[in-house]
């Protein structure tokens, strides 16, 4: 069965030495776990201070393996190089990623206008990770992280109905609220969805068409994500949608 991993990172996470993955290691892990291709962002982009610089290194590093590692353009609207990074890399990317919680800005900030317009004109989805790590016990540097504002996410999706928004790594109750809102352009990923019966309940209520597979590697073990969709509990059709078809439909697969 083909698998697309939507929640993957490459590089080093400066706050935890266990969270790192070189390109070679990522490719090896993907091969070992049968991942067809991944939508990947550099870990360094989460706290980067220059859009152009972080993307330059990332796109250069991954340019020879685009069939396996498909780059997602990480943008921080508050940092320099935004327009140039879009201009230079949008055609090579399969989506745009925003870390608004971790970079401390609002999704309704006017600085994001250019990003939403770009996504609309290029038909690229915007991926917005809601969580990355265990916030209860994370280093003090992240004490500022408050609760996810679900209303803000819904308003953003409503303001840009032609743009697909992938709210990746929601907690269970966040995923349920986002799916229950019934927006056509909202998708969620599986990386933080855990509980005995949780995915069955979600799929039973809202279907599988809005759920994408994500591992959140290397924050999480790749193996952990792959253990969620037990064939005994889910139809083959639902598993195929989550593992491959949904992501393949909304991310540009012609690159």
């Amino acid at each position: 069965m083909k698998i697309i991993d939507v929640d993957l990172y490459i590089g080093r996470w400066q706050h935890n030495s266990a969270v790192q993955s070189s390109l070679g290691r990522l490719q090896e892990e993907m091969r070992r776990h049968g991942i067809e291709y991944s939508l990947t962002t550099p870990l360094e982009s989460i706290l980067a201070e220059d859009n152009l610089e972080v993307n330059y290194h990332f796109f250069k590093e991954t340019e020879g393996c685009a069939s396996q590692i498909r780059p997602v353009l990480a943008l921080n609207p508050q940092q320099p190089g935004l327009e140039k990074a879009i201009e230079r890399y949008i055609d090579q990317a399969v989506g745009i990623k925003l870390f608004h919680r971790f970079q401390r800005y609002s999704l309704s900030d006017s600085l994001l206008e250019i990003i939403y317009q770009t996504a609309q004109s290029t038909q690229q989805p915007i991926v917005i990770p809601l969580h990355l790590f265990e916030e209860r016990t994370a280093v003090r540097s992240f004490d500022f992280l408050g609760e996810v504002k679900l209303e803000e996410l819904l308003q953003t999706a409503d303001a840009w109905p032609a743009v697909n928004f992938v709210f990746s790594a929601p907690l269970p109750y966040e995923a349920i609220e986002l799916l229950a809102a019934g927006r056509k352009n909202i998708f969620v990923t599986t990386s933080f969805l855990e509980g005995e019966g949780l995915l069955e309940e979600i799929i039973g209520k809202y279907g599988a068409q809005k759920i994408l597979y994500g591992s959140n590697y290397p924050f999480f073990y790749m193996e952990a994500g792959l253990r969620k969709l037990c064939p005994r509990r889910f139809s083959r059709h639902a598993i195929e949608r989550i593992y491959f078809n949904n992501a393949n439909n909304i991310f540009r697969s012609d690159r």
Binding site: T137, E196, F219, A224
Partner: protein
């Protein structure tokens, strides 16, 4: 043998997230996940109750006793207690008489509180171990929620008591280091997201024998929590120990 040292019963508050599940399902799902035995407690029939009344404690423990009767080969029961209730001793005896093997303490009293001492002494008299919830949170714990430092003090006060610090105290280095000098304190790996490095850290600080596999199902998944160990960068023999052998040693269980 795979033993999950930290499981709870389904309760009514789970329904919104996990659906309405029959009580037996927690055992059946463990079996499907390849787990041979589960160590289970109930923190309340309606929800996880931090300060349950005597009746709520009895109801919770009755649910566990029922599972023990239905699945005697697969279920080890823990007796949930609120040490602030005047009749905790009677409830401990009732659960002990019916075959429970340990005490479950959540957030009614800090582990370092003298209120808890008679409970620990009574548990030791019956050769019951203590599974003590513990977390070290950035933004502060609940008022009576134990930090690993509280558990460490308990371990110093009662060096002969067998204690499991649940959730590895939140898996933070300082928490693990706090209990490291006390060989009578083990940790379970339950709860939390499957972050890379957490089990490796626990093994590095405590050694391989004091780390026990736990899931915290049903709020967490059996299979995902197993991956914290199976995917960890530790030797296979150590994984094997954590998944079951260590717990067998912990309860002095010799059967295979």
């Amino acid at each position: 043998m795979i033993i999950d040292a930290h499981v709870h019963t389904y309760n009514r508050s789970h329904n919104a997230l996990l659906g309405s599940r029959c009580s037996q399902e927690i055992v059946i799902r463990a079996r499907e996940a390849g787990i041979d035995r589960i160590v289970i407690s109930s923190l309340g029939r309606t929800a996880y109750l931090p300060y349950p009344s005597s009746q709520e404690v009895r109801e919770a423990n009755d649910d566990v006793l029922k599972l023990m009767q239905e699945f005697p080969e697969e279920v080890y029961g823990l007796c949930y207690l609120n040490p602030r209730n005047p009749d905790w001793r009677e409830e401990m005896q009732r659960c002990y008489d019916r075959g429970m093997i340990g005490i479950k303490l959540w957030i009614a009293v800090k582990a370092s509180s003298a209120i808890l001492f008679p409970v620990i002494e009574a548990a030791m008299q019956r050769d019951l171990f203590i599974q003590q919830h513990s977390y070290l949170k950035n933004r502060g714990n609940y008022s009576d929620e134990s930090e690993p430092f509280d558990v460490a003090r308990l371990g110093i006060e009662y060096p002969q008591a067998r204690i499991i610090m649940a959730h590895a105290g939140g898996n933070r280095r300082e928490g693990l280091e706090a209990i490291a000098p006390m060989p009578n304190i083990y940790v379970d790996t339950s709860g939390g997201v499957p972050e890379c490095g957490v089990v490796e850290n626990a093994v590095a600080i405590l050694g391989s024998q004091r780390v026990l596999f736990g899931s915290d199902a049903p709020g967490r998944s059996y299979t995902v929590q197993q991956a914290k160990i199976t995917a960890a960068n530790i030797p296979d023999a150590v994984k094997h120990q954590i998944m079951g052998n260590n717990f067998q040693g912990f309860i002095r269980y010799e059967d295979n």
